[in-house]
C-alpha cells in the first residue's frame, strides 16, 4: 500500500507542475490548451541539455526556457494580436509535439548520464521521512519533487497573500476593471503566461529526467490534457491542485496494481476514472455557490482596451 502511494506521488509530479502552470495562466484570464505542447518542448530540451552537458541544472534551465518559449508564442498571439485562445493553444500543442519529436529524433532510446541520474535519486529528509505512511510517501522523494512542494507554497502565498497576486486575480476576473485601477494588464498576462509555460516545461522535464531517464517520443502521453482538466478539478486552487495531481497520478497506475493483486477489473475501465471524475467535478462545480471555486470570470476573453 505504501509503495503504491509512493508511486502515486511520482506519477502525480509531472501533473502537478503542469497543473500549477496552467493554473497561473488561467488566473491571468488565459486558457492555454498548449500544455501538452509546452510539456513536450520542456521534456525534449531538458533531456537533450542534460544528455549533452551532464549537468542537471542545465537540463532544468533548458526545460524552463523551452516551456517559456512555447508560452511566449502563445502570449504574443493571444495578448498582442488578440487571436482565439482555444485555437492558438491547440496550434501550440501541435507545434510542440512536432518540435519535440523532431529535435529528439537522434536521442530516441539514449540514456541520461549518471551524473543526472544520481542527482535525481531519492533523498530522505531526516526526521520527516520517519513519519509512518506520509514519511516515505512525501519525504523519500527526489529533489525535483521537493522543488514541486516549494512551488506549491510559493504560488499559494503569491496568489492569496501578496499585492501582486491580488492584482493578477483581478486581471483574470475582469481585465477592464483591473486596467482602470491602474494595473498593467498586458504585462501581468505576459509574465504569468510565461511563468505558466516554464512550469509546464518543468512538468515535461520531470517525465524525461526522473520518471524515465530515457528519451522516447510522446513521453508525456497526454498528461498535458489531464493537467488542463485538473485545474478545473482543483477549482483554481494550488493546494487542491496538489491533491488532484496525487489522486490522478494514483488512478493512472491503479489499473496495473489491481491486476497484480489479482483483482480482475479491466484496466481500461479504471483508466477512464480520472476523466469521468473530471466531468463529474465540472458539472458539480456549476452548482457550487462559493465564489472562489468558480473559474476566473474573464477566462478566454481577449482584452482590447477600446472595447471596454
Amino acid at each position: 500500500m505504501v509503495s503504491f502511494l509512493c508511486a502515486a506521488v511520482i506519477a502525480g509530479m509531472p501533473l502537478l507542475f503542469a497543473t500549477l502552470g496552467e493554473l497561473i495562466t488561467e488566473k491571468a484570464g488565459n486558457l492555454n490548451l498548449g500544455v501538452e505542447g509546452m510539456m513536450l518542448m520542456g521534456a525534449s530540451c531538458g533531456f537533450i541539455a542534460g544528455y549533452i552537458t551532464g549537468n542537471p541544472i542545465a537540463a532544468i534551465l533548458a526545460a524552463i526556457i523551452a516551456g517559456g518559449i512555447g508560452a511566449a508564442i502563445y502570449a504574443f498571439l493571444t495578448i498582442t494580436l488578440m487571436s482565439n485562445q482555444v485555437v492558438t493553444g491547440l496550434a501550440l500543442t501541435i507545434f510542440g509535439t512536432g518540435f519535440a519529436s523532431f529535435v529528439g529524433k537522434d536521442y530516441v532510446g539514449k540514456v541520461l548520464p549518471d551524473t543526472i541520474k544520481t542527482f535525481f535519486m531519492k533523498v530522505e529528509i531526516p526526521g520527516l521521512s520517519d513519519i509512518p505512511v506520509i514519511g516515505p510517501m512525501f519525504f523519500k522523494q527526489d529533489i525535483f519533487a521537493y522543488g514541486g512542494y516549494v512551488i506549491i507554497i510559493l504560488i499559494s502565498i503569491y496568489l492569496y497573500k501578496t499585492r501582486k497576486g491580488l492584482n493578477l486575480r483581478a486581471v483574470g476576473e475582469n481585465a477592464a476593471s483591473a486596467d482602470a485601477s491602474g494595473i498593467n494588464v498586458t504585462l501581468y498576462k505576459y509574465v504569468h503566461i510565461l511563468i505558466g509555460g516554464a512550469l509546464c516545461g518543468l512538468g515535461g522535464a520531470y517525465m524525461s529526467l526522473v520518471t524515465v531517464p530515457v528519451w522516447q517520443e510522446g513521453v508525456t502521453g497526454g498528461r498535458g490534457w489531464i493537467a488542463v482538466a485538473l485545474v478545473i478539478f482543483a477549482s483554481w486552487n494550488p493546494v487542491k491542485a496538489f491533491a488532484g495531481s496525487l489522486l490522478f497520478g494514483g488512478l493512472s497506475i491503479l489499473g496495473i496494481r489491481l491486476q497484480s493483486m489479482g483483482i480482475h477489473i479491466s484496466q481500461y475501465l479504471v483508466d477512464m476514472l480520472p476523466y469521468l471524475a473530471t466531468v463529474v467535478v465540472l458539472i458539480l462545480s456549476t452548482y457550487k455557490s462559493r465564489k472562489e471555486d468558480q473559474p476566473p470570470k474573464d477566462l478566454g476573453n481577449a482584452y482590447f482596451r477600446e472595447e471596454r
Binding site: 491547440l90 501541435i94 507545434f95 509535439t97 512536432g98 519529436s101 483508466d271 465540472l282 452548482y287 477600446e306
Partner: protein, 354 residues
Amino acid sequence: MINITKREDLSKQKGIIIRIAAIILSILFTGIFINLLGYNSIDVFYNMVTGALGSEMRLQKTIVKAIPIAVASLGILVAFKMKFWNIGGEGQIMMGAMAATFVALNLDGFPRALTLVLMMLAAFFFGAVWAFIPAFFKVKCGTNETIFTLMMNYIAIKWITYLQFGPWKDPNAGGFPKIATYPDNAVLPEVFGINIGWIITIIAAVIVYIFMNHTKKGYEISVVGESLATAKYAGMNVKMVIITAMLVSGGLCGLTGMIMSSSIEKTLTIYLSNGIGYTAIITAWLSGLSAPFAVISSFAFAVLIQGGKFIQIALQVPASVADMIQGMILFFVLGSEFFTRYKISFKGQKGGEK
C-alpha cells in the same frame, strides 16, 4: 505612437490576401528553420509536394487522407460558428466508428447498400449522442464545453480500448487483441480508385453550406455565435439552437468515424482516429468556418501529412517536420487575423496624443 482601431469594413479580397500572405510567410519561416537544422528546405518542400501529388497513386492516397479531415472539419465548423468550442471531434469520431462497427459485424449477409446506409446512420447517431452530452450540460448548467468535450475524447478512447481488449476481441485472432475485420458488404466501394468517401464529402459540404447559409437554423447558429444577447432579444430558442448545432457537429464527426473504419482500416482500432479530430479543428479554422473552404484546407493538410511521410523515406527527414509546419502555418494565420480585424496607424508625437 501606434494606434490600433477596430476595423469594420474589410473587403473579402483583402482578407484573403492577408491570409495568403500569412501562409507564404509561414512557409518562408519554416524554410529558414529547416535550413538552420541542416537540411535543404527547397529539397524538403519539393519532395513534400511531389510526394503527395506527384503521381496518380500518390494523389489518390492524399485524397483518401483528406476525406476524413474534411468531413470532420465540416462538423467542427458548425459548432465553432456558434463559438461552441467542440474539441471533442476525436471522441465523436471514435464513437461513430464504434456504432458502425457494431452494425458491420452483426449484420453479416445483408445487402451491401443497406448495410452501409445503416452503418452511416448508426455512426451519425452515436457521434451526435456523444456531442449531445456536453451540449446538454452546457445549456442546463453552463459547464465549460472545451474541457467537457475534451474529457469525452478520453472516455471514448478508453471505452474503445476496453472493447478491443475485452468483449469485442476477435476470438479468431489467436489471442491477439484486435476487433474482427469487416465483412465485404460493410466496406465502402471505390470510384476512380478512391473510396466513395469523397462523394460523401462533397455531398456533406453542399448540405452544410446550404444549412449554414440558407436555412433559418443555420442563420440562428451564427447569430448565437455573434452575440448571445442579440439572439435572446430576437426571441430565438438559444438552448435548442445549441443542441441542434452540436447534434449536427457530432453527427458529422461520427460519420467521419464510419468512413475511416469502413475504408481505411476495415475494422475498429484504438488508433483509428489518431488526432484527426484535432487536425479538423485547425482546417476548419483556416477555412474561416466556411464549408467549401474547409474541404480545400483539409486537402492542403492532407498534402502536408502525406508529404511529411514521403520526406521521411526519401530524405530521412522526420515526418514531425510536417507537424511543425502545421503549427507554424496556424500561428501565422492566427496572427494575421489581427490585421483583418484591427487597423494599425502610426501617428506622429505632435498630434496631441500621448
